[in-house]
Symmetry: C2
């Protein structure tokens, strides 16, 4: 374990991706990845601080945490950094009134936000909500704005569900960017601001933190650009990896 | 008219865009743009050769020509260069079996093509057909191919219908390009091969031809890169412009 010792020297905090690391989502709520429930438990018993840093944008934090707890994970809402509540804060700070193209499951995160007479568009992983009509409506809202603002909750290309690969919000963000000739603001990994807010919430400096995720761009690349260490996991290798981190 | 004389010197052939130049589409079949029926008639009585060069990919050539003839236009199928029949030829030549993400109205153009066990994806302006499920299906087909081939019938950002702006196929092409990490092959304007096939069909050299369209990228930029002249029209100015060309 000499290699591990070197890679983990000085680490005080661990950021964990959720989808593809703790569990694979699916219509039936998905299924935990083998060994991950125990690995999280062991990690939380260690001296390390733990934070869950997700781009999940179909579910509210409450719904996500409920689902994971039912699968046996030791996790609470206050330990989760998620793009919808982060976006909600940004909208309030900047006085933005969004047209929401989001999944019904995450709409509650925007309950306190004024959505009348929209002056921006917020898109998240809307799943089946990405109909032509809904995309065209978002497109028309943007085209009618003098300075179109498009906020995207993450920019993932795709993710894995138990039924197979699923197009993620990044594809639809690119569609609107191209159609409108604009560039979206991304709230979520790999945005540096997003990682920094997660670090702040756990009270750990970037050089003391390690990100564990399954996405080479969103998780690994993004964390490294912030000065953090990062490890990419592949499904099934997670428990071995986390055991090594917890033992360190 | 000295300026016109200079711009049109040596012109033997005129390529006309259809949507936004001859008519604005819409659910009820759309409506001809004021003065355009007469302008086309005058042009065809002149010494100039005329060809209609469209990116229309929701309708078969037969359907499109029928619609325009009912609106009073002097136009026949043999005078139209359209991306669906051009794609059909390419598929045959290269032995490609497409998964089709296209509007039902254009499916007949692919009637002779083997679509079993697909080894490429063809997308056109599918309108409401751009559901999440249909997009995800096309995405999965591409991801399962060793060398993913995506053919897009045009790459327009949007177009105008009587009801307002409509997202065009280009937005969805970008979505699939991003999700799969690939680059699409475009059949249609502004692809040079497409303009060249239209020129060949009318028997006119590029330097003897002028493209008249409403899209600065697809029509004007594309034609100019092929060595043609080009004019951009805005709705309502078409008849004046064509009168000048026909009189020249």
């Amino acid at each position: 374990m000499a290699a591990w010792g070197k890679r983990l020297a000085g680490v005080r905090g661990v950021l964990l991706d959720i989808s593809g690391v703790l569990y694979d989502g699916g219509e039936d709520g998905g299924a935990p990845i083998r060994g991950s429930v125990e690995a999280v438990a062991r990690l939380k018993q260690s001296r390390l601080k733990v934070r869950f840093c997700t781009n999940e944008s179909q579910k509210s934090r409450q719904e996500l945490v409920g689902l994971l707890r039912r699968q046996g994970f030791d996790i609470s809402e206050g330990e989760v950094t998620a793009p919808a509540p982060a976006t909600s804060l940004i909208l309030k700070e900047r006085g933005l009134r969004p047209h929401l193209l989001v999944h019904d499951g995450v709409r509650s995160e925007f309950g306190q936000i004024d959505t009348s007479n929209p002056n921006c568009v917020v898109i998240a992983d809307a799943g089946e909500g990405f109909s032509y009509q809904n995309m065209n409506k978002a497109f028309r809202v943007l085209m009618e704005l003098e300075k179109p603002v498009l906020i995207s909750l993450g920019k993932g290309r795709y993710y894995k569900e138990t039924s197979g690969l699923m197009l993620d919000v990044g594809a639809y963000m690119k569609a609107l960017e191209y159609a409108c000739g604009i560039e979206a603001e991304v709230v979520g990994k790999p945005s540096p601001e997003y990682f920094q807010s997660a670090l702040k919430e756990m009270g750990v400096e970037a050089h003391e933190a390690i990100m564990i995720g399954d996405d080479i761009v969103g998780d690994v690349g993004g964390a490294q650009r912030c000065g953090m260490r990062a490890l990419q996991v592949r499904t099934g290798k997670f428990s071995l990896l986390l055991s090594a981190v917890a033992r360190h």
